[in-house]
């Protein structure tokens, strides 16, 4: 296990990312942040905080559960937990920034784009991620990336939030995953 991003570098990186977003969207009047559940939630709320610092007001923040849009949706988990999607406003004509923790195969983002389209017709959709890793299976790329990393076949990236902030770790693939909602380890 090694640290890829510590809370300080995440905070710094997200502040920089917020600046890029504001610049590219001319002050961001039509912006909406949509986090992909559950990985994108912590990052999206931090990003929304920094956008608020820069522009006096934070953009609307929503969340999307993409379970029903997955290309393997019918191979359901025995007791699937699907969180409700919350889209705070109409997406028609808005600039939507999808937020997720790790961009890997691209399948989640593909599903999220499909899901977004069912809520309206955004003017444009962009993608912001904490970590862009190798292993893409679809022609999808992120517009805003905090860290690009090549991960070995026997490794994976874990992102989680605890009281210190957001962490990204490179873990051995065999190590147990922390189930969603479980208490997060305190990393020094």
């Amino acid at each position: 296990m090694r640290t890829l991003l510590d809370p300080e570098s995440v905070a710094r990186g997200l502040r920089r990312m917020a600046g890029e977003i504001v610049e590219r969207h001319a002050g961001a009047p039509d912006l909406v942040l949509v986090a992909i559940r559950r990985g994108g939630i912590a990052m999206a709320s931090a990003l929304s905080h920094w956008l608020g610092e820069l522009e006096q007001h934070s953009p609307p923040l929503g969340s999307l559960d993409i379970t029903l849009y997955r290309d393997d949706a019918a191979t359901a988990l025995p007791n699937p937990r699907i969180g409700a999607s919350q889209i705070p406003c109409s997406l028609d004509g808005r600039h939507v920034i999808l937020v997720d923790d790790v961009l890997y195969t691209g399948r989640t983002v593909r599903a999220a784009i499909d899901a977004l389209m069912d809520y309206g017709r955004p003017r444009l959709i962009e993608l912001a991620v904490l970590v862009d890793r190798n292993g893409r299976e679809l022609p999808i790329q992120a517009n805003y990336v905090l860290k690009t990393e090549t991960v070995k076949p026997n490794e994976r990236i874990d992102v989680f939030e605890n009281s210190a902030g957001i962490h990204a770790l490179i873990q051995d693939k065999a190590s147990p995953t922390i189930p969603p909602g479980a208490p997060r380890p305190e990393v020094p």
């Binding site: 029903l68 849009y69 949706a73 019918a74 025995p78 699907i82 409700a84 809520y119």
Partner: protein
């Protein structure tokens, strides 16, 4: 595998407290789908659901049909009188035919108790019971509990529920009593003595042959439809007399909690089991039940249509 997947839903007996609550949780996320501008998700794209209704039903069939369509499944409806049964086909042959058409889920309503179990024994498809005779109507019970959760919260322990009317012939009452007891509610059943089943004690509920003691302090009042086809039989004298002793009106509802909710599975006989002012009043959650019905059936169909061979279990990941 720690949790069993629900493939067939034949009765509340197929569930335990954990799977029932899991199903209700799942339905909550489907409720959101029905409220958005595009009321459709691609989850069951390419799946086939066949609704076989040997008994007439508009609302349950429509609810199942919408649920399937909102999940992007192909939904086909077969009615009793238009089906081959009217030409003498046996239920077994109907099942074989639907199986050969590669149905993923068969939703069945039948006048014979146990029909859904029979179909499940012989079909490869997942089977959902949409009402079998006087036996069970599990999705109605689930949608009722879902509606109760929406107004009263998730914890059913200590909650007082009164189910009133023709208990003996009601699969709605039976499924509800089983599920509500499983979830921890205190259930009272009330009806004319002729309409209470003999083995009623096995349901573990309080039983009354008058409405008033059941309503006393109730948080939830569930009125059952009086089936007019039972009139004239020695069981039930006349609608007016029934309304007088067993109809829910404003005066009787005062016995229940001030914030009690009133439910009815529909279709209602206004002025018989439920008065006009109560049906349209502020306690009524009857239309919420209809909305909940689609969400709950989406959850049931979603589970029933999933691939049996490819279920990921927590240990696989």
């Amino acid at each position: 595998m720690t949790q069993e997947r629900i493939r067939h839903l034949l009765g509340i007996d197929d569930l335990n407290r954990e799977t029932a609550e899991g199903l209700l949780d799942l339905a909550e996320s489907f409720l959101e789908v029905s409220r958005r501008p595009v009321r459709k998700v691609p989850a069951l794209r390419g799946k086939t659901i066949i609704n076989v209704f040997f008994e007439a039903s508009t609302r349950t069939r429509t609810s199942f049909e919408l649920a399937g369509k909102r999940l992007s499944a192909d939904v086909v409806n077969i009615g009793g009188s238009s089906s081959s049964t009217s030409k003498g086909e046996t239920l077994r042959d109907t099942v074989n035919t639907l199986d050969a058409m590669h149905a993923d889920v068969i939703v069945i309503r039948h006048a014979a108790s146990g029909a859904a179990h029979y179909v499940a024994r012989h079909a490869r498809a997942g089977v959902v019971n949409a009402g079998d005779g006087m036996h069970e109507h599990p999705t109605q019970a689930l949608l009722d509990s879902f509606t109760i959760r929406q107004s009263k919260g998730r914890d059913f322990r200590g909650m007082k529920v009164a189910i009133c009317g023709d208990i003996a012939h009601s699969r709605v009452a039976r499924s509800n009593a089983l599920l509500l007891r499983m979830l921890g509610a205190d259930v009272a059943l009330a009806g004319p003595r002729t309409l209470l089943p003999r083995a009623i004690d096995s349901l573990g509920c309080r039983v009354y042959d008058r409405l008033e003691p059941a309503l006393e302090g109730a948080d939830v009042v569930m009125m059952l439809r009086i089936q007019r086809e039972r009139l004239g039989a020695p069981l039930l004298p006349a609608l007016r007399e029934y309304a007088r002793y067993f109809g829910l009106n404003a005066a009787r509802l005062k016995l229940a909690q001030p914030d009690a909710i009133v439910m009815h599975p529909g279709p209602m006989n206004r002025g018989v089991e439920i008065s006009e002012e109560i049906a349209d009043g502020k306690h009524s959650v009857i239309l919420n039940q209809v909305e909940a019905g689609v969400a709950v059936r989406m959850a049931v169909l979603y589970l029933a249509a999933s691939e049996p061979g490819e279920i990921a279990t927590p240990s696989d990941s």
